[in-house]
């Protein structure tokens, strides 16, 4: 196995999936954002987005907080320290591999 292939094989599979990669990339640039923002930016439907967020939450990369903005329910999402570290490492490895 050459170095490039090995670098690609080392990529974090949770983040490497394109849908989740979009979510993590967007969240990496902010403190937190709500579900609606992610849905608007990624153009995913609610079910798909929820499914990806669950996987990221299970991996400990995203923290989900259910709250209210006035009387409207709001789901806030933020990358955990572990998530930020994993994304930084993913970018580094991708740059090395490409």
């Amino acid at each position: 196995m050459n170095l490039k292939t090995r670098k690609l094989a080392e990529l974090d599979r949770v983040i490497h999936e394109p849908g989740r990669l979009m979510i993590v990339a967007l969240l990496s640039a902010v403190e937190q954002a709500d579900f609606l923002y992610l849905q608007h930016e990624t153009e995913m439907n609610k079910g798909t987005l929820s499914s990806h967020l669950s996987k990221l939450e299970d991996a400990g990369y995203v923290e989900v907080t259910k709250t209210y903005r006035g009387k409207i329910p709001q789901t806030l999402l933020r990358l955990t320290a572990e998530g930020r570290q994993a994304f930084a490492q993913y970018r580094r490895r991708m740059k090395e591999a490409l």
Partner: protein, 235 residues
């Protein structure tokens, strides 16, 4: 944007990382605020007010009121219009970035002041008219470059806005000395700057303010047309 079904390139990832910063002006509120700020600074400065009380306190109070209106007005639009339609974003508070903004603002202000005074004291060297208005036009063009890099790269029709600003900067530099000086003729600020320098500043601030206001207003109307408040369903 793809729906995440294909492999993403590194370039696409970097673009995604930059997207939240651009979201701040998705509704045109950033430009509206900047437009109000520039017009709010430019218009009172062009009034022939000679009262020392105005210069000591009035302008300060006016500026504070202006900042408060822009701050709370933008916040209200975001809370009641933008967040319910396209979502809420809280940006990261980065100390280094804040210091960079302060430093850049300070350097720009010092450079502008220095250029104006250099032009005033060396008018024989750099030419009586061009020396006064060219620095102002150059700073205007620097603003256009920043605008192109940050806004135009995402919203294509804003090329027209950038072009309008660039044309105005060049036009101000080419205006006859009498016209530029006449703009500042009756204001008291000419005590510290030459009439032509102050006139060029005033024209630039006012025209840029009007352009930002129009551009922000168009963005805001387009945003309202293309978005709807989200339905309240489970997430």
């Amino acid at each position: 944007m793809n729906n995440g079904l294909e492999e993403m390139t590194m370039d696409q990832i970097e673009k995604l990382v930059r997207r939240p910063a651009l979201y701040n002006n998705v509704d045109g509120v950033g430009e509206l605020g900047l437009g109000f700020l520039l017009l709010g600074c430019g218009l009172p400065a062009s009034l022939p007010i000679q009262s020392p009380i105005w210069h000591k306190w009035g302008s300060f109070v006016w500026f504070m009121v202006l900042i408060a209106v822009i701050h709370y007005g933008s916040k209200a639009i975001k809370e009641h219009i933008t967040y319910p339609r396209t979502g809420f974003v809280e940006y990261r508070k980065q100390k280094a970035r804040r210091w960079l903004s302060f430093t850049l603002g300070g350097v720009t202000a010092i450079a502008a002041w220095g250029l104006a005074h250099f032009a005033r004291s060396h008018s024989d060297l750099v030419g009586s008219h061009w020396g006064m208005t060219t620095p102002v036009a150059l700073i205007g063009l620097v603003i256009v470059v920043f605008y192109v890099l940050h806004i135009v790269s995402v919203v294509r029709w804003k090329w027209a806005v950038a072009a309008a600003m660039a044309i105005c900067s060049v036009a101000i530099a080419m205006l006859p000395a009498g016209v530029v000086g006449g703009v500042a003729g009756s204001t008291s600020a000419v005590a510290t700057l030459s009439e032509r320098s102050f006139g060029a500043w005033l024209l630039t601030i006012t025209i840029y303010g009007a352009i930002f206001l129009i551009s922000g207003g168009i963005s805001f109307v387009l945003y309202l047309r293309h978005t709807q408040p989200a339905a309240e369903t489970a997430e």
